[in-house]
Symmetry: C2
Subunit: 584 residues, 2 copies
């Protein structure tokens, strides 16, 4: 089930009364669109071409107009939809894992005079509110991944704008470290969303212009209200781009910049790890991967997710790790959980609560936990850790209630404990389920240095530091408890769990908590969680997800944008938007 | 015109198509409610009682059930509406200006077992979206003012919760430095908005719980989903309150805490300055105060605001300043502009652009500018500067486009230049209007140390530092230009203005800019400006206005809250809210 709908049905949905449910509404012949799938590979790309030449890769966007993910729009002028971005995400991931030799990535366009026109307007206009919001979230995460590659993987992205970069096209460029625009007398960079569509640039544009590119506020204001954008010199002077060159110098200059970025990289080179197809089995309401499984309870609007610890000890050294490749336990579980998160977010919007459990041998988890730190200088182990970090960040911005349950048999240790720390609540059984297995070993959790540095949140703090924000003494106490099993009482004492009850009360407590959660307004929960999860400092990343996204979601819900005469709806029809002029 | 409406009409408004306009809709007998007025004084309070005993003031909330600002609801259980908060704002201001002897303020309730039930739900349910948003903004600003008094005026606020503090009642307490709850076996603190109303606490609650009181995220989650809240010990342990005492110890403990806070204050004592009624004249579409006037152009949906410089040089010393009292030019203009901002925001929502001009002698402005800094140790001069700082912060969070026009005859110097820095754009005429007065002196601006420290924004940076965020060299260049007149070319050169054109182009440029602005989606502009105005670091204050407010506005616009079966609408009717369960 997806939320993509055609005009009339979308309009119906936008004005639906609460309680009418979120029925999947199909396309014109009433077929519900299939669930969105995130599997792809360069051989089946329809919209991008990836080529590698020595230590420089070139990723060329040439969107197949007829290749929209759902019917109802044509992807003209390199405009994109979720399907285009799924391929981009795949390319970003493969460049990191399959190409340790690639030290700089040139992103350019395959059309003449138009690099990318941004998100497809017709697609946005016909999409439900939830679809638009989810689409923006995923595209934001992919762009953050590009910045992450530049910062932490020695793989610098260069935007070689061989034509106009409008809206989302310019936002794509903003994720790159270096933005070069062709000087052809007509190509510009622009953010025309406000003047043309009555919405905000939805992929971090406003924030990155002032907080990453440091463009002066009044110039940012001019820029974001000028639909045609700015060309070379002004764009360079204001900081919107880094350089502009005429066509005759283009290839040479781009090559020089790519070579220069590559020369500054410490990326190792060597043999990559092929991201082979995921081993995923869907059986009714159950999804299984190696090390991850999920079971849906539709009546309770809940999904129970179990992450399994490793079956064996880790390989002895980096070479052994590399040999395991995608089967290396931390990577296998990260890939699986990443796919699951994306599928649930996109295809299962009614499942409001995600309940996490772990199962396995904590000692073995800790061996991998130690290895991630010990071998962090190895390019592949580094990439695995960074991917896991990005997955956890996805959880932080997921608009679902995240609940961790800690029971006998669990292995919430170090890097797996991080899942519990990402959750909104942590419920830990004190003791065992007497009526199930009175001889079981009571659950413990283990904190490690992994929880204190390797996996920061978007706010720059670890989840542990965020948990104890403003309480340095509590943070120190938690640090003093590293590397040893903490039973429920000990975990509770140092503030690591929300609740630690014995089995007489535990099951009732968890059941009631989940029932109560499922009764609350989904919107209020989303807003509440988005405010609680990020304490303390803010960064470009948290501003994009916290401030910009919230305003965009508001605007996406307003008649001035999405009403029948709203700017987003009438764009391209020749009609003029009609606004309610009230400033709110 | 206000936006307060009764149920059916409000519902109509919520689903109005863009372009239907924002017609004022009256109460049941179709009378449009009068424009909201912010003038009041302790003698005419209906909802609060202010008493002063030595260096401790007591502010007691006892809301008149029949004293709602507009018809349609009863203010039971010390619930509040905008009218109640207007009185609170007045009290906060008078305590600062009229009572230099007051060093601590005890805020308590005049009812039994209920300190304050928060914002009136029926009022919220019947209000338009714009009204709710504006109401929340004003209440947030008043609470920030309480924190400002505690931090900068040596006037510590203590919340003496003699009964339950629910929702906005607890948020009021959160603005205080010290929260004490009575231990009577039943009184609690709570944020029941999410579970009961399907909205967020709208006055900073979520942010202050985690970012000011440092309550752990999972406990904040439990708290904000538990409608009945928490009592004494748990509330103290979690950091929700500072202390709890039984009734028999209550008076003594509160008095001791107030005395302790007062004893730590450096506030001077002495004679206060009476905040006499504002001298305001409304004549059609013109509003005039001493030093401030505004003229409305309804067709252009614009208001032109002129701030006048001082008529004379400032008094020679602090005693002379005190003698002038409310007539001291910086205070007179601040009071006037503050009133104007509030009236325009509340009563004139269709006026999307505010165009600022100044007029007068820059040299005289600079004399006051210097005095504010030189006499900043004087309690009254300090208060004037702080009030002006808060007024400027109001501009920063005002959902209107702010445009500064700098022409011959203007006096944008130091503290008045700050208004231009708060604006989204600064247009400066290079030279003179040849056809108006060819012999006029071209406009100049003057930067002073006032622009570099005295008047920080909510993000903790000055507007000058925000303007040049990420460009330390440009900030240094601006600092090097302090205290000397900069003509248009010089101002442009160091980046102080958006545009500096001669009169052949200037008038067209400004006219077209204003026309274009007036054609854009009001919602998109609001979101855009909210993102551009705050660069760099974030604070509780910017999080409340940037992150929390945006999510709240989104939720306030969703059927799950405000639809006919939404939680906010059906509250109190006995019906159960019906939700669309989709998580967005």
């Amino acid at each position: 089930m997806t939320a993509v709908q055609h005009d009339e049905q979308a309009a119906q949905s936008e004005t639906a009364q609460p309680g009418s449910g979120s029925q999947p509404v199909g396309d014109t012949d009433t077929q519900a669109p299939p669930a969105v799938d995130f599997d792809t590979n360069p051989g089946s790309y329809r919209h991008w071409a990836l080529s590698v030449d020595g230590d420089v890769a070139t990723l060329t966007m040439k969107v197949d107009e007829d290749g929209g993910l759902v019917p109802g729009y044509e992807l003209k002028m390199n405009s994109y939809d979720l399907g285009v971005d799924i391929e981009l995400y795949d390319a970003v991931q493969r460049l990191r894992f399959e190409h340790p030799e690639v030290k700089s990535v040139v992103m350019t366009g395959g059309l003449d005079r138009m690099f990318c026109a941004g998100a497809n307007i017709r697609m946005l206009a016909q999409s439900s509110h939830a679809w638009k919001v989810n689409f923006c979230k995923f595209t934001n995460e992919t762009r953050n991944g590009i910045e992450d590659a530049t910062e932490f993987s020695g793989q610098t992205w260069i935007a070689a704008l061989n034509g106009t970069a409008a809206g989302g096209g310019y936002e794509l460029a903003l994720a790159c470290d270096d933005i070069v625009l062709i000087d052809d007398g007509s190509s510009t960079v622009s953010l025309p969303e406000v003047p043309l569509l009555g919405v905000l640039p939805g992929t971090g544009g406003l924030t990155r212009v002032v907080d990453k590119r440091f463009v002066r506020k009044d110039r940012a204001d001019l820029f974001a209200t000028k639909s045609e954008g700015y060309r070379g010199d002004t764009a360079v002077q204001w900081g919107l781009i880094d350089a502009t060159f005429p066509k005759r110098e283009w290839d040479e200059q781009i090559a020089a910049r790519a070579a220069d970025a590559a020369s500054r990289s410490t990326r190792s080179g060597g043999q990559g790890v092929a991201l082979t197809p995921l081993d995923r089995t869907i059986d009714g309401d159950t999804i299984r991967y190696p090390y991850v499984s999920a079971s849906v309870d539709r009546a309770a609007r809940r999904v129970d997710i179990t992450v399994e610890g490793p079956a064996d000890s880790p390989p002895a050294d980096a070479a052994g790790v590399l040999e395991q490749g995608v089967d290396y336990w931390p990577l296998a579980l990260t890939r699986a959980l990443d796919d699951l998160v994306l599928r649930l977010r996109t295809n299962e919007q009614d499942l409001g609560s995600w309940v996490f459990r772990t199962s396995g041998d904590a000692e073995r988890v800790l061996e991998y936990d130690a290895q991630l730190r010990e071998l962090s200088q190895d390019w592949f182990v580094n990439e695995v850790g960074l991917f896991y970090k990005r997955l956890l960040k996805r959880l932080d911005v997921t608009s679902r209630s995240l609940i961790a349950v800690i029971e006998p048999g669990s292995c919430y240790a170090g890097l797996l404990l991080e899942i519990a720390l990402a959750a909104d609540r942590q419920y830990m059984l004190d003791g065992v389920y007497e009526d199930v297995d009175a001889d079981a070993t009571p659950a413990t959790i283990v904190l490690t240095a992994c929880n204190d540095g390797l996996l920061p949140m978007g706010n720059g703090l670890t989840r542990l530091a965020s948990r104890f924000y403003g309480h340095d003494d509590a943070l120190e106490a938690a640090r003093a408890a590293f590397d040893r099993p903490l039973d429920a009482r000990a975990a509770d004492e140092i503030g690591m769990v929300t609740s630690a009850l014995d089995d007489i009360d535990f099951e009732d407590e968890v059941r009631i908590a989940l029932e109560e959660r499922a009764s609350l307004s989904p919107d209020a929960l989303t807003g509440m969680e988005a405010n609680h999860r990020f304490v303390g400092p803010e960064t470009v990343e948290t501003k994009v997800f916290g401030r910009l996204t919230a305003w965009q979601n508001w605007i996406f819900n307003r008649p001035n944008a999405v009403g029948e005469q709203g700017a987003l709806k009438v764009y391209g029809t020749g009609a003029k938007a009609k606004f309610n002029w009230e400033r709110v």
